[in-house]
């Protein structure tokens, strides 16, 4: 019984570590990705957009994470 509890508990500990690690990786995507910092308007269809992030007020500038191709799009 002890072993079964610890195996599931270990999975929980690993998950906590993985969440913090990927947080660091994904938290920087809108800052470091060259597409976001380059000027211009990038277009994509709505069904390609999986995640979006609009920093600042009034959603003036948004970064979009595109399915399949992993492209970030900036919209003024």
């Amino acid at each position: 019984m002890k072993r079964s509890v610890s195996l599931v508990a270990i999975a929980a500990v690993f998950a906590i570590g993985a969440a913090f690690t990927t947080k660091r990786q994904t938290g920087m995507w809108n800052v470091d990705h060259p597409e976001v910092n380059s000027p211009g308007i990038y277009y994509a269809t709505f069904d390609q957009i999986k995640a979006s992030f609009c920093p600042g007020v009034n959603n003036l500038e948004c970064a979009y994470f595109i399915s399949d191709r992993n492209v970030i799009v900036k919209k003024p």
Binding site: A9, A11, A12, F14, A15, A19, D47, K50
Partner: protein, 152 residues
């Protein structure tokens, strides 16, 4: 492989998924809140859902870790995964705008990959329920008590 080992492995996978998903959402809470507010089907209840989802995932994980509540945890996991998979299916079929409220590396998957991923975990939790079936445990208990297989 022993039934209890299979249930352990399934529970561990589910705990990993739920803890990871819940923490990813809570660590990037503003982004998660914004994306959930954009969802065409749950905009009106997003204030409630934004807390209910990560806290629900943590609660289910705790239920899976404690052996006494593992059966309930497996049923709740199946319900949650069915809900998430159904939501993605509806979004893919009926919505033109598809914001993902998922966290961590899950947001890097395409919608199709995410749907299949959720479907696999839904089936896994169902398998966990079937393997962890209390009826089979009762039969095992009877065998141990009487020393011979019961007539069914």
């Amino acid at each position: 492989m022993k039934k209890s080992t299979i249930v352990e492995i399934i529970s561990s996978l589910l705990v990993f998924l739920f803890v990871y998903a819940a923490l990813s959402k809570l660590l990037d809470f503003d982004k998660f809140k914004y994306q959930l507010g954009q969802s065409p089907f749950i905009t009106h209840i997003s204030r409630f859902v934004v807390w209910a989802i990560p806290l629900g995932e943590i609660a289910v994980s705790i239920a899976l870790v404690i052996k006494r509540t593992r059966t309930a945890g497996l049923y709740l996991s199946f319900f949650l995964m069915l809900l998430f998979t159904g939501y993605i299916f509806i979004m893919l079929r009926y919505s033109s705008y598809l914001p993902c409220s998922c966290g961590g590396i899950l947001s890097a998957m395409s919608w199709q990959q995410h749907f299949v991923f959720n479907l696999v975990f839904t089936l896994l939790s169902l398998l966990g329920i079937v393997v962890n079936n209390p009826t089979s445990n009762t039969i095992t208990l009877r065998i141990r008590q009487t020393g011979k297989k019961p007539n069914t």
